[in-house]
């Protein structure tokens, strides 16, 4: 009789642990999916913002037509990306073009003093930051999810319950790892 009760208790504890583990993994997996979509949200926001920003500085930065055109072209290319790898590469090129625009704006003292331009530079920086932080959060939450699946005793049941490791966001185009060169000479 006594051993029967002990067995029952052990089974109950294991069952409760399994349920708790499953629920925790489900919650993490959903946060990972959300995190991935959040990156897209920020990228789309950047796409929508760029035309307004470029138009606003176009008048003052007339000499920098090349830089402005490069930004608009990169944006157009990014909108037509096919698949995640292609999108990652084109978004990276858009980031480089925007970086050049920011750097070139530094070259105009009167422009720098203009409050409108300062606000626009702030918006450009903030947009790039948000994309970066969205990617950072995705990697952080994906790491938490993978760790939760791989620690003992959860690793015994994770595969059975249908959980797979999440891929971390990474740079596929090696050129993006190079330090960008900034050309401040007037064209």
């Amino acid at each position: 009789m006594g051993s029967g009760i002990i067995l029952l208790v052990v089974v109950a504890v294991v069952a409760l642990w399994a349920i708790a583990t499953y629920n925790r993994l489900v919650a993490l997996r959903n946060q990972v999916l959300n995190g991935w979509r959040q990156i897209d949200v920020q990228l789309k926001r950047r796409h929508d913002l760029i035309p307004n920003l470029v138009n606003a500085v176009r008048g003052a930065m007339d000499f920098e037509r090349d830089t402005l055109t490069a930004v608009m072209e990169a944006r157009a290319k990014a909108l037509t990306a096919t698949g995640p790898a292609d999108a990652a590469q084109k978004e990276g090129q858009l980031s480089v073009a925007l970086g050049r625009l920011l750097a070139v704006a530094e070259n105009y003292p009167t422009l720098k003093a203009n409050d409108n331009v300062k606000m626009l530079q702030e918006e450009l920086s903030a947009t790039e930051n948000k994309v970066g932080f969205a990617r950072q959060f995705y990697n952080d939450i994906a790491t938490k999810f993978n760790t939760a699946q791989q620690v003992f005793p959860a690793n015994a049941v994770a595969g059975m319950l249908g959980f797979q490791a999440a891929e971390l966001f990474e740079i596929t185009d090696a050129a993006e790892r190079q330090v960008p060169t900034v050309d401040l000479s007037r064209k």
């Binding site: 946060q31 959300n34 995190g35 959040q38 920020q42 409050d115 300062k118 606000m119 702030e122 918006e123 903030a126 930051n129 948000k130 932080f133 969205a134 950072q136 959060f137 952080d140 939450i141």
Partner: protein, 327 residues
Amino acid sequence: MNLYEQQAANRRRTWIVMIAFVVFLVLLGVGFDAFFFGVDRAFVPVGSFVALGVGSVSALVGYVKGDRMVLAATGARPLADVAAGASEDEALKLRQLENVVDEMAIAAGLPRPPVYVVPDPDPNAFAAGRGPGHSSIAVTEGLLDALDREELQGVIAHELSHVRNYDTRVMTVVAALVGGIVLLSDWARRGMFWGGGRRRGRGSRDGGGAAGVLFFVVWIVAIALAPLIAQMLAMSVSRKREYLADASGAELTRNPLGLARALEAIDGAAAPTTSVRRGSAHLCIADPLGRAMNLRRGRAADLFASHPPMADRIAALREMAFERGKG
């Protein structure tokens, strides 16, 4: 220690102090009930439960009311209202604040909290509310003037980390324990004043003789020191959570030196933040009560300060940035 190790260490230390807190409360409570109601076969420490229950009430009321009370008391105004009437320079700063809060909310995976500005020239910031989704962040005008964007990002990351670590809940539990301990100590002292308990009754004759007497001596000393000890334990928890918020904030920005520079700038401004009351001190990034306690680094300061000494916090952040021994 790197920022992950520092987070783990501070969470562990919080647990240790909380356990010490509960043990202390139990010591007082059991002694209280034994002293005043005698030790019967079916010993239920009624007095302890009542004290804990009553002590919890005001703590819970504060918790449930959330951020409204704290914000109203400081005169905080919503960011949108402040931006409407701002000059060009201020508008840029306020826009930066809004963007920085957005960025940190994205990095933390939390919904964006409403932002408020407190019209106080002393640089400070605080987070209030029950937890993610029910919290607000407030900064003083002095903070916006004193810090650049990177430093501001560090401060907001620290405050948002208080939210995501549920520090308001932790401090509510602490407040309930302090309330319970103070009540027990108060009742015990009144009880003894009015003529003592049934120590001379059944309890002591059935009790363990010398061991029983020793317990009561220890208990009486504990009663006398209870409010002090409770405050010490509460402040210890508060300091651990501050270190944890620093490390969690560094995880969000991946830039510990930004927050380190912000703390140096805040430390440089000497005046107290008069808008924030004592009860909300633990929610701020720097002690708003004039820092007299936090400036000193002696024993007394270590035990009763709500925030760790700035120099220690800055050193911990530099360590996270692998910059040991500099500055």
